[in-house]
Symmetry: C2
Subunit: 154 residues, 2 copies
Amino acid sequence: MPRGFGRGNWHGRFRGCGYRWTIARQSVLDVLGKATRHLSAEDIYMQMHKVNPGVGLTTIYRTLELLVQMGIVIKSDFGEGRARYEMAEGPKGLNHHHHLICTGCGKVIDYTDFIDDEVELLQRTEKGLSKKYNFKISNHLIQFYGLCQVCKNK
Amino acid sequence: MPRGFGRGNWHGRFRGCGYRWTIARQSVLDVLGKATRHLSAEDIYMQMHKVNPGVGLTTIYRTLELLVQMGIVIKSDFGEGRARYEMAEGPKGLNHHHHLICTGCGKVIDYTDFIDDEVELLQRTEKGLSKKYNFKISNHLIQFYGLCQVCKNK
DNA sequence: ATATCTGCAAAGACTTTGCATGAGA
DNA sequence: TCTCATGCAAAGTCTTTGCAGATAT
């Protein structure tokens, strides 16, 4: 692995797509790669500001759009009025997970449990829907809403 | 059924919650009740403007918030940067459906097929998640994304 | 009569766009 | 060198808020 590019040969991947490898892009990937939560554009901006104060919020938005379009990053909406981002990590469904969202405090838990059952059902559903509605299904979103342990005891 | 209140005794329901029954609220319910699509606040505003030109967009937002909170209307986010609304129609899960969204043209299809399988899986998943993460799950969201017949042939 | 609702205008929040400057290959 | 990327400021969208006047009960 080339030095200075973190895990994954991002530089090569960018070049391959005709994009340039810049400090800003590297930095966004660094921040997202280390994140343990789903980050908003501003979260990323603030974390990055400590290391690369020169990078503006606009660039973050533009970079995130690019990363989502390249499939490196996943953009989610938890109904807060702002988008959140996380690494897609790995090809096709590796690390595939869904979200469990607390409507009290907004906490989001990624769960990967029960996925086996889900996959089976989803495949059946996708097949059925594809056929009936003539859709080519490429993706799905599943979220559960409820109250976390702390909030339900209030 | 009292005359002039459309189907469902909305007037009584509002009164029961301590809310007043107004032209604006009736009108929002009328529009949503007749809708065959998921309407944005502005869609509702424009349709209502033909009949009740005096009602402003602000009131629509406030009314929708109320209706959602009362459980009469469901608010959805299809990732367009604006919310869309539809009648919840009927108590607990009647008319329960999910969405199939075309990422090409934005068309949204409600499907109610394959729900039986889904319900079974969801109950199992909910049970598992509740236990493991100590959540009290109250709701879920399932959306499939893909290309509709028209868009996939482009 | 009076507490609730409403319209208008303004503010707020997040995101995108225009354009001149700066930087990668 | 030459295109692509960036920062800044401004604009764009959708939505919410403040407040005086109107309305339902």
